[in-house]
Assembly symmetry: C2
Homo-oligomer: 212 residues x 2
DNA sequence: GACTGTGAAGCCATTCACAGCT
DNA sequence: AGCTGTGAATGGCTTCACAGTC
């Protein structure tokens, strides 16, 4: 089993390519070149080809790529050729918005449980499932073989929730709280930090005046 | 004006360091070493020192960094030593959640206008401001000198909204829609794409079985 | 003794440029 | 002729290792 390391940037771009291809297929386009994809998503054609080359040869020289073939291949590479059950902890504003977000479903993610520690939230309906007490987290995770958890609790509670998710058997966490979380090495974690993103913007806005 | 290029990863880490320092200050800690910061945010001590070195010498050899000094320095570097008015377009679930998110205020961002094209939304109160028709976007942006816009509309409407923001004079956009946006080169753009983040997780979960 | 600041080395990702196929 | 696949070159970020300072 040769484990060639794939750059994370490549994985993120594959996800974007797959959405581009989904659109292209929807528009009835049969074949695209690396240049078409590149233009559509804002990268270089060489980058597109290199990214794909990590995983095999999907195109035809002189022609390009078959849209639906490549789309399916990338979905398979990303692990999207199945449905992924997801639990979400934190039924506040952001958690509720995510639980109702339709974009996840179309890509194979199904939020099967929303948890909170505020009894006032229990039973609230969110897109099919209802808000459950956090005490039921372990049971739901284990009964459904859930591997992915989303954290949308305030910063102060985030580490405790992460520990609990890991203990319940979760293998990957998407963290929306503005906190650096400690998890065991085998657990995959990604942070989506709104303030960091805004601050990259303000830094760049400031560059015009400053001199570093 | 020497314009040394700063890696974007460095800017993102600075934002994380600043939050770590905010916490440290709050706990009454006076001095920290690069190793302390590194441990707190999960990077190497050398990385912390290199990141800071792009901007000057903020520490004392043999001692470390003064917490509140360094905190203020980083805030200045990121452009956070002022308040930034922000407009948000798209008063759906996610937009409403963001408009109410308290974390922004503490870091100097104030959402002064929320816009939508659905008359059913007009007038709804969101944390002080109310939802306005998109036709008033230009006026609010210009009257308040707004430079930052947040897009939380569905994918199909995102490019049109981006064009409109740029036309109104917006200089930086935080895009939450799952779409690659075309904007003029001088406009800074950052994408926060929930699906891409989840798909990086599923890719990594799949790595255990697959062999690339 | 402890810790910063930094050139040099090492590593990783992107771009180039062209051979190879249709 | 057109476009992919890929080794080689480039560029950029991170780590190393140590001189400099307190």
């Amino acid at each position: 089993m040769k484990t060639l390391k794939i750059p994370e940037a490549t994985v993120m771009r594959l996800s974007v390519y797959s959405r581009f291809l989904e659109q292209a297929e929807h528009h009835g386009i049969v074949t695209v070149s690396s240049g078409d994809i590149a233009e559509g998503v804002g990268v270089s054609p060489a980058q597109v080809r290199k990214d794909l080359a990590y995983f095999g040869e999907f195109g035809t020289r002189g022609v390009g790529y078959n849209v639906s073939d490549l789309y399916q291949q990338i979905r398979r590479i990303l692990g999207l050729n199945r449905e992924w059950p997801v639990v979400l902890v934190g039924a506040g504003k952001l958690g509720s918005a995510l639980a109702r977000y339709q974009g996840f479903l179309g890509r194979g993610f199904r939020i099967i449980g929303v948890f909170d520690n505020d009894p006032g939230q229990f039973g609230r309906k969110l897109n099919g499932s209802e808000v459950l007490p956090i005490s039921q987290l372990e049971e739901v995770v284990q009964k459904n073989g859930v591997e992915i958890g989303i954290i949308t609790v305030p910063a102060a509670a985030a580490q405790e929730v992460a520990d609990r998710l890991v203990n319940a058997g979760i293998k990957a966490i998407l963290n929306f709280s503005p906190r650096v979380l400690n998890v065991p090495g085998q657990v995959v974690i990604r942070n989506v930090d709104f303030s960091v993103n805004l601050e990259v913007l303000t830094f760049n806005l400031g560059l015009t005046n400053k001199h570093f």
